[in-house]
């Protein structure tokens, strides 16, 4: 059967539960992004040291790997997801302060935020309205992510600015693919838990923002 026709062939009860999942995911995603913005603002005003970014990432990765999968089916999962996103937002403080200290810093940060929003809404809207199944991209995206991690690992020991720019460009493309993939998983029943769906989309947006900021900061006219 053509994968485009799956939603039309599914019983109405399933369509209702899919719509409920999509609605709950986008509501929770909006709330977590707002909460992240609040904690990032607090972090910027407190001028936290650079290692905060690393510490917050380690804390949030530990929560994502070890705590969220055990709590995602209960109300405790909501507290965990706000803990993760709040921590990740707080970790952005040193990065934002670094860019904000540049002459056109506020413009770069604002452009990266607006750009991330437009890219996410455009891609997620496309995946929702086209009803296409992008599950075929899963293996390709995961392999791409592994290659990026290996390149970042190499970049730690090889001082090559061009490599960092190339990594940021590839991550933007990969996260765009992941937005299509994760949105279509909600539509086609690959993900039925709105907390897990939210964290997937949140991580896509977070990485998209960080790497767009990095690319705009490096290639902006301000030298």
């Amino acid at each position: 059967m053509n994968r485009l026709d799956i939603s039309a062939a599914r019983p109405s009860e399933s369509v209702i539960s899919t719509n409920k999942l999509i609605k709950n995911t986008y509501i929770l995603l909006s709330m977590t992004l707002l909460f992240s913005a609040v904690t990032a603002t607090v972090s910027v005003f407190l001028a936290v040291p650079g290692w905060t970014y690393m510490a917050s990432l380690i804390g949030s990765i530990a929560l994502i790997w070890f705590v969220l999968p055990r709590t995602a089916n209960s109300s405790a999962g909501l507290a965990v997801i706000f803990g993760i996103t709040g921590l990740m937002g707080f970790g952005l403080g040193p990065i934002l302060n670094m860019y904000l200290s540049m002459a056109n810093g506020p413009q770069i940060v604002g452009t990266a935020m607006a750009g991330t929003g437009i890219i996410f809404l455009g891609l997620s809207g496309y995946a929702l309205t086209s009803k296409r199944d992008f599950s075929f991209m899963g293996g390709f995206l995961m392999a791409g992510l592994l290659v990026v991690f290996i390149a970042i690992l190499a970049g730690l020991f090889i001082e090559m600015p061009a490599l960092h720019l190339a990594i940021s460009a590839v991550v933007i493309m990969l996260m765009s693919g992941f937005i299509l993939y994760d949105t279509s998983r909600m539509v086609h029943g690959g993900e039925t838990n709105y907390i897990m769906a939210t964290i997937g989309l949140y991580l896509n947006i977070y990485n998209l923002f960080v790497h767009l900021l990095s690319l705009l900061g490096a290639l902006s006219g301000d030298d």
């Binding site: 455009g122 293996g139 991690f149 933007i172 493309m173 765009s176 902006s220």
Partner: protein, 59 residues
């Protein structure tokens, strides 16, 4: 060597080890693309690339 680099390296190594079996499983078990599927994914991603170039020119 900067101690933060060592922590980043350990963190990245752990992420690679964590993702490796998942990536292998997904590469093996992902459904095959049908005709037009890749085109439907590449066109919006290419538009994103164009949009990012536009943003770089703006700032």
């Amino acid at each position: 060597m900067d101690w933060t680099k060592i922590i980043w390296a350990v963190l990245l190594g752990a992420m690679i080890l964590f993702l490796w079996p998942r990536a292998k499983h997904m590469l093996k078990n992902s459904p095959k693309a049908e005709q037009g599927d890749w085109q439907a994914a590449i066109v919006p991603i290419a538009l994103v690339a164009g949009f990012v170039v536009l943003l770089i020119m703006i700032v």
